[in-house]
């Protein structure tokens, strides 16, 4: 098991190297100039030239790449070209809201979609089933920002149940935190809820036919225990996979949700960084998310093994 883990970890190295090269080239071979973002619209070419010089942007690409990789190997992600703040510090300031948002969305997903999926499977073919399926197809088809705007319009502006925007860290108390993160969390969770409830339903349908479920029922166990303790546990693996593969989907939702609800997270940071051509910051954020993606998928593969001993490590 350990050697499997290590082997998978080793395989991640060329993957991450490819990401690094790809992102570096993408940024440097396209037009745009971070000096402009520093100097502003009214700067003259001579002023820009001075700034480029001091940022080292006039060095040959290969030199810049080697310098960058070398520094990163020492854990130095550099400083933002625009604000001169260390990149890791900037990411640190912004990662909290993003992680909170993602976790809340994940939590809401589980709370909402598991019962929904189980219910749909249990009442297979019935009205509830159809309603759940219809709901989930619609969840796939409406853009996150439209869902966000509808939620704001109904629950914040009209009903005034929730604040319209903003973020309060958990340190300010669970109340303010929850109050502000609920709507964005729900908006972000919308696709996920659609995905996971369908997945849950499908896996449950498969499991409910199995002998042990019939046995459990025959033993006279309450239906709810049969459904949630026996069936759902065995339906867990495909659901887990969805959580992993949904990570990328979530990133995309995060960028949009943060904009709609004005949450100062990583998503907005990266969009700003791209627009300002803040190379070190873009590179660091993309590497970070790519690394997280690789790690999450690794963990999910491992968790398969833990939940289902039939899967061998090959």
């Amino acid at each position: 098991m350990l050697s499997y883990f290590l082997r998978r970890l080793l395989m991640a190295i060329p993957v991450m190297f490819f990401v690094a090269v790809f992102v570096f080239l993408l940024l440097r071979l396209t037009p745009g100039d971070p000096a402009q973002a520093i100097a502003g619209d009214q700067a003259t070419p001579a002023q820009l030239q001075q700034i480029r010089e001091s940022l080292g942007l006039n060095e040959p690409l290969s030199v810049q790449f080697v310098t960058w990789i070398g520094r990163m190997a020492h854990g130095d992600f550099g400083v933002s070209l625009i604000s001169q703040q260390p990149v890791l510090k900037m990411i640190g300031q912004r990662i909290g809201p993003t992680v909170a948002l993602a976790l809340v969305a994940m939590g809401l997903t589980v709370l909402i979609s598991l019962p929904m999926g189980v219910l749909a499977a249990w009442r297979h073919g019935g009205l509830t089933d159809r309603a759940v399926m219809a709901f989930s197809v619609i969840g796939f088809s409406v853009p996150v920002f439209v869902i966000g705007y509808v939620l704001i319009g109904v629950f914040a502006v009209n009903l005034k149940w929730f604040p319209v925007q903003g973020y309060k860290p958990l340190a300010d108390g669970i109340g303010p935190f929850a109050h502000r993160i609920f709507l964005p969390g729900l908006a972000l969770a919308s696709i996920y809820i659609a995905l996971v409830s369908r997945m849950t339903r499908a896996s449950m349908l498969e499991v409910l036919r199995e002998d042990y479920v019939r046995t459990a029922r025959a033993k006279g166990l309450p239906e709810i225990v049969v459904l949630f303790r026996h069936a759902l546990r065995n339906a867990a693996i495909p659901i887990l996979t969805v959580v992993g593969t949904g990570f990328a989907m979530m990133i995309s939702g995060v960028v949009v949700t943060e904009t709609v609800f004005n949450i100062p997270g990583l998503g907005r940071l990266v969009v700003d960084a791209v627009l300002a051509r803040d190379y070190p910051l873009i590179q660091a954020i993309i590497l970070l998310t790519a690394g997280t993606y690789v790690l999450i998928n690794l963990l999910i593969d491992l968790s398969y093994a833990l939940t289902d001993p039939r899967i061998r490590f090959q």
């Binding site: 991450m16 088809s141 920002f145 593969t245 993606y293």
Partner: protein
């Protein structure tokens, strides 16, 4: 937002259940209507989608402007009608493009084991970069034309196709008829063409429809974030992006394109499900 970010062998495909028959019919009708709307946009729209009128900005819907006007004083209805063109083209471009590029790569990776490791690590890398970030970077860093947007959305989809094709090739090449063909000395290209390609087609078509739907959503998200196609070419995405500033005053600037967009994607997804059940019965068996 991207629906197809899940790997092809992932549950994403398994979980689409067979929709009742009437939904398929309805979805086809809606989709055909949207395609017709795109084709005959000049006939249907009562204004040029780019025709400005500074004195008629942000008007509510009336008999002339069926959906009202936007902040440039352009007719929203005409823009939504024309917007179908961009969205459908982006979807088609991305779906076809990712298949045209992904299919040969997948076949190569599946057949030539030496290539496999390198190619698949590259694909893993590409998959690890969140698609939206990659797309934002590509569009923002180059320019916001239709081609760029298609490429930007397509690139992150390619690995999905490659993985799907590769897994099919791997499954097929272990079959006895392939062994037989190899023993008979069939040339690799011919072998791929005759024996491997056909087995990948069905899942590929299904995957294509999901990519299609996802691409339309991603285009909308890019426009929303300010890195989409320019406003001279109306797309549902950029119509919504422009309308969102006025959401509190006239939410219909967002809702009209949103409704049409959602209907379109809904139909494509439903058709995708139906297609999969038809073309790929194995999948159906696993999910229902």
């Amino acid at each position: 937002m991207s629906l197809t970010t899940s790997a092809p062998e992932s549950p994403r495909r398994r979980l689409m259940d067979a929709p009742p028959h009437w939904t398929t019919v309805l979805a086809s009708v809606v989709l055909i209507a949207i395609v017709l709307m795109a084709l005959f946009a000049p006939v249907i729209a009562n204004f040029e989608p780019t025709s400005l009128n500074a004195m008629k900005r942000l008007k509510p819907a009336d008999a002339t402007y069926w959906m009202g006007t936007d902040s440039y004083g352009r007719d929203l209805f005409s823009r939504v009608v024309y917007g179908a063109r961009v969205s459908l083209m982006v979807g088609a471009g991305v779906a076809l493009g990712s298949i045209v590029i992904g299919l040969p790569l997948g076949l190569l990776a599946g057949w030539f084991r030496g290539l496999d490791a390198v190619l698949m690590r590259m694909m893993d890398g590409l998959m690890a970069i969140p698609g939206i970030l990659l797309a934002i970077a590509i569009v923002a860093l180059t320019n916001a034309g239709l081609t760029t947007v298609v490429i930007a959305i397509m690139l992150p989809e390619i690995p999905q196709v490659v993985r799907l094709v590769r897994s099919r090739v791997l499954a097929t090449r272990s079959e006895t008829f392939v062994d037989a063909a190899v023993l008979l000395g069939t040339a690799p290209l011919r072998l791929i063409w005759r024996h491997l390609l056909p087995s990948t087609l069905a899942p590929l078509i299904v995957q294509g429809t999901y990519i299609y739907a996802a691409a339309i959503l991603t285009e909308a998200a890019l426009s929303f974030l300010g890195v989409g196609i320019g406003t001279e070419t109306p797309s549902w995405g950029n119509i919504m992006a422009e309308g969102r500033l006025y959401f509190a005053m006239n939410p219909w600037l967002v809702f009209w394109p949103a409704i049409v967009l959602s209907l379109c994607i809904l139909s494509i997804n439903l058709l995708g499900d139906a297609l999969r059940d038809r073309l790929d019965p194995k999948m159906k068996g696993r999910s229902a």
